[in-house]
């Protein structure tokens, strides 16, 4: 702990100095104590500010760096010496180094009372708002008759006095720790949303809308249509800007318009209260520094990319490869987004490679189903491709192929069929043909391109990502999603690209119907303005924004308020709103994908006992099964929603052994934490879950009989492995979690963002999950990665060609 001792007098021969030196010597081992003199600091003068000059400035820095301060004062005329007084005035004038610092007082005097009155004055002074120190209460150390208190070595002679000083000093060290806690700012958590309040204008009340995210005031809009122009305009511009930049309500009024200024601050305070936060916390925050409010950081570049996930970084690399400048603006402290969370394999048909692998049982049957499909079910634009695919399949089956079949057409038709869905309102949706064609025709090129910038794929394994429906996954050798992000990020950094992290983009600059750049806000709350020839939106979907999912949802019968998500918390649909602010059209927004079997709190997959679907035994909150556990993700999800979302995966000791990514230790911990249930009998397990034991026992007995029969009379499960029979028994609580949002900005095959009339918005491009139209009602596992790397490349190249080379 760092303690600074201030010798509060300028007199040469002062017992106060002896006392401070004694403290330093005596408590050297308990804390790092440094002493400073104030005697060379000039007399305070309001009209001649010297607080940015030496010697004051060095002392100020020492105060700021210290954990606690001890001030030693003498007593002059019942008060503190004018030299100390003057020093404290400097410390309260244009700088405030004592603000929030723990301070201990000690004092001497040559009379018997030993600075009692001076210390009382000093307490009051330190308490003044300009000084604002936190003074240790009680522990009043007064050294009276100070001339005779020290021996020749500078030690205090009276042992009782030394003991008392020691007590005071120890108490102070403890106090410093407490004061530290006091200094941690109050945490705020707003209820996100838009709140309507009013503020005072010259012509009466003005309506105003304040928008909050969980931790910030995001936007303040004042409807000034009823207001006369003039000075108030400055208020309506500057005050909201200052509030947002500083995230504070401690705002100076615009001079000459204090009533209107305070009106705006009061209005925002009302909204803060409505959002569930005490406005006084924000009033106590520091004022926004002049810097943050007034001078934005400004840049100029060729192409600016919003979002540093897979799509954004891919676009950036392509801009650099075309010899142009690029800046990537990323909301979070690190790039990666959802891409870094992926399992890794990306889909791309590469028949030459796939044909070297043997076919697996069942694959031929899947292909035969296509031959038997009714062509009337195929949408017109896909029909020609469908018929061509049938020829390919026929040839493969006729030649009695024993190898793994694939083609770009097969990938295309699977993407199309996999995405075809009908929502609750009866609207049918399927992937837009030209977008799906580009995706499936160029996915392999994307794999090769990734290889060219250093992503290594495993040539020995062709994998089938969960929900992919076919084995065409190219799996990176390195760790999952990190393999892509690290290669892309390195390329950008090593080739002159600039990545700004911690800078969410807030606005698109739009002049004369053209996009001209973006405005973001960095971690210091400073505006970042980037002027660019093109803007590429690559900010991902909106899976972490439940309100937005609820707003657009047309697919699920219900979306819970406390829906968990597998997504990064940054994925809140910002790019979609940015696009809309310049007129972009949206497509397929009502369709989202959930992971049905997820942790109810965190949305993670691998908590509890996550086992292969053949061993899934799902029971609802009444203890009954409710679905064929082998069903597809969206059927499981809807079934869970219909049963109140929360359900349990039941396991016995044998099933437990088939769980992924867990250990006995972790299981024991979760049981202890109450996030996983374990019991020696089924009845006891039921009781823990608040389920009637008899009902639960019957459910399990029936399930076990279906396993024996290889057939499920109730729900039609066909693939079984183990029965539930060996204690201990387990129940893992599960809930569907938001995983992927298929809808988004409407784009064309060149990644142009289209407006509601289908017209290209000039200089604006979008790629990745932020765009819609491809995966439609359901995305195949492994197809996102094909999408973001294919359209990310197109976006980078097109932006350069159209805006930098014309």
């Amino acid at each position: 702990m760092k303690i600074l001792g201030i010798i509060g007098t300028n007199s040469e021969n002062s017992p106060t100095r002896l006392l401070m030196q004694f403290i330093k010597k005596q408590y050297d081992e308990k804390a790092e104590i440094e002493l400073v003199e104030i005697k060379d600091v000039p007399m305070f003068n309001e009209s001649k500010d010297l607080s940015d000059k030496e010697p004051f400035i060095s002392i100020r820095k020492k105060i700021e760096a210290a954990d606690g301060i001890i001030i030693g004062t003498s007593e002059h005329n019942r008060s503190i010496p004018s030299s100390l007084n003057s020093f404290l005035e400097w410390s309260s004038f244009s700088v405030h180094p004592f603000d929030g610092k723990p301070v201990m007082l000690v004092g001497t005097s040559i009379t018997r009372q030993g600075s009692a009155s001076a210390q009382l004055h000093l307490r009051q002074i330190l308490d003044a708002p300009g000084v604002n120190a936190i003074v240790l209460p009680g522990n009043e150390f007064l050294l009276g008759d100070a001339k005779h208190a020290f021996d020749n070595d500078g030690n205090i002679e009276a042992q009782r006095t030394v003991d008392f000083l020691g007590t005071c000093f120890n108490n102070f060290l403890r106090f410093v720790k407490v004061a530290d806690v006091l200094q941690t700012p109050d945490e705020v958590r707003f209820e996100p949303g838009d709140y309507k309040v009013t503020t005072k204008g010259h012509n009466g009340e003005l309506p105003m809308v304040v928008s909050f995210s969980e931790d910030r005031i995001e936007d303040i809009e004042i409807d000034t249509t009823g207001e006369t122009q003039g000075i108030a305009d400055t208020v309506f511009e500057r005050i909201p800007q200052a509030i947002i930049a500083g995230q504070t309500l401690n705002i100076d009024a615009v001079s000459g318009a204090s009533v209107t200024s305070n009106g705006v601050v009061d209005g925002v305070a009302q909204a803060v209260k409505l959002a569930g936060v005490d406005p006084n916390i924000l009033k106590k925050r520091p004022k926004p520094s002049a810097d943050t409010v007034t001078t934005p950081l400004e840049y100029k570049t060729d192409v600016v990319v919003v979002g540093g996930g897979g799509a954004g970084l891919t676009a950036a690399v392509n801009v650099l490869q075309a010899g142009k400048q690029v800046m990537v603006v990323e909301k979070f402290p690190a790039v990666g987004g959802n891409t870094i969370r992926t399992g890794g394999p990306m889909n791309a048909a590469d028949p030459k490679w796939q044909n070297t692998f043997a076919a697996l049982p069942g694959e031929k049957e899947t292909l035969e189903e296509i031959l038997n499909m009714d062509e009337a079910e195929i949408d017109a634009e896909y029909l020609a491709d469908f018929q061509e695919l049938k020829k390919q399949i026929k040839a493969y089956i006729d030649s009695d192929g024993k190898y793994l079949f694939d083609s770009a057409l097969w990938h295309r038709i699977q993407t199309y069929l996999g995405g075809k869905r009908t929502d609750l309102k009866g609207n049918e949706i399927h992937g837009q043909y030209d977008l799906v064609k580009v995706l499936t025709d160029h996915a392999l090129e994307s794999v090769k391109w990734l290889e060219s910038i250093g992503v290594e794929f495993d040539p020995d394994e062709v994998s089938m990502p969960v929900g992919a429906k076919w084995r065409r996954g190219h799996k990176p050798l390195k760790n999952q999603g990190y393999a892509y992000i690290s290669a892309l990020q390195d390329f950008v950094n090593q080739n002159g690209g600039k990545i700004l992290t911690d800078t969410p983009v807030k606005h698109i600059l739009f002049e004369n119907n053209k996009v001209t750049g973006i405005v973001g806000l960095n971690a210091d709350n400073r505006k970042v303005i980037i002027h660019a020839k093109a803007v590429i939106l690559a900010s991902g979907g909106f899976g972490a924004n439940t309100k937005m999912v609820q707003k657009y949802n047309t697919y699920w019968s219900k979306v819970d308020d406390n829906l968990a998500t597998s997504n990064s918390p940054a994925i809140t649909g910002d790019g979609i709103r940015l696009g809309q602010s310049v007129g972009a059209d949206l497509v397929g927004m009502g369709f989202t994908q959930m992971m049905p079997v997820s942790d109810p709190e965190t949305g993670e997959l691998f908590t509890g006992l996550q086992v292969p679907p053949a061993n899934f035994v799902m029971v609802n909150q009444q203890g009954k099964r409710f679905v064929d556990e082998y069903e597809s993700r969206d059927v499981l999800t809807q079934a869970a929603i219909d049963n109140g979302s929360l359900f349990y995966l039941i396991a016995d000791d044998e099933i437990k052994k088939t769980a992924y990514n867990t250990t006995q230790e972790s299981i024991d911990e979760q049981v202890k934490a109450g996030t996983l249930y374990r019991a020696d009998t089924l009845a006891d397990l039921a009781k823990q879950l608040d389920i009637k034991p008899a009902v639960f026992e019957e459910t399990i007995a029936k399930y076990n009989s279906y396993v024996d029969a290889g057939k499920d009379a109730e729900f039609g499960k066909e693939v079984f492995d183990l029965k539930v029979q060996k204690a201990p028994f387990y129940a893992t609580p599960r809930k569907p979690a938001m995983h992927h949002t298929m809808g988004g900005l409407k784009i064309d095959t060149k990644t142009h963002v289209l407006d509601t009339d289908g017209v290209i918005i000039e200089n604006l491009y979008a790629a990745g999950e932020v765009a819609g139209g491809i995966h439609a009602g359901n995305r195949l596992g492994g197809n996102s990665l094909s999408d973001i790397f294919t359209y990310g490349r197109i976006a980078g190249k097109t932006a350069v060609k159209e805006t930098c080379e014309k």
């Binding site: 300028n10 005697k39 000039p42 003068n45 005329n77 008060s79 010496p81 007084n85 004055h121 009051q124």
Partner: protein
């Protein structure tokens, strides 16, 4: 009657100076008020020789010759400004001219409270044995919102406050006469 008015700050612009100037004019028929500054007084550092510097000696002579002293103080950080305490340290440590001298305290500040804490401290300080001034008891004069209190001719425009000051000053004159006996 001869009075010394001490401006309790070294600032270039001070409403406490304005207040004394107003009193100087306004009470010209009752007393001759000479205004003295604390600006150019050297920094007090408790020299081992108890010798007053030139400025202190001059001011001491003036105080000794006067019938009473008016100190008008701002409030800095809940107390009196250092330049004023600096002056009082010199007087206490060297010449001690305030012993048994009638003193009237006024104070002007920009805020509402009008120097009340600083005046309380000043009374305690003036009561210290080495100063031992006779501070007019019972009454206080606090001029809050001092920036708005005067017009551009330095006239105290707040009539309530002006009347209060008249009464306070009359009390002080009485007090001086009683002390003189």
């Amino acid at each position: 009657m001869k009075l010394i008015g001490i401006v309790g700050t070294n600032a270039d612009k001070s409403t406490n100076r304005t207040l004394l100037q107003y009193m100087q004019e306004h009470f010209a028929d009752q007393a001759k008020i000479e205004i003295c500054e604390v600006k150019d007084i050297p920094v007090f550092n408790k020299p081992s020789e108890r010798v007053a510097p030139e400025q202190i000696r001059q001011l001491t002579d003036k105080i000794t010759a006067a019938d009473g002293v008016i100190i008008s103080t701002p409030e800095y950080d809940h107390t009196i400004p250092a330049p004023l305490s600096n002056l009082l340290e010199w007087l206490a440590y060297t010449t001690q001219p305030l012993q048994n001298k009638p003193v009237m305290i006024t104070g002007a500040s920009y805020g509402v409270l009008g120097t009340s804490r600083a005046q309380t401290h000043l009374r305690q300080i003036l009561n210290a044995p080495e100063l031992k001034a006779l501070v007019l008891p019972g009454k206080e004069y606090l001029l809050g919102h001092s920036l708005q209190a005067f017009n551009d001719k330095n006239v105290l425009v707040d009539t309530d406050k002006a009347q209060e000051l008249d009464e306070y000053f009359a009390n002080f004159v009485d007090f001086i006469n009683k002390v003189k006996g």
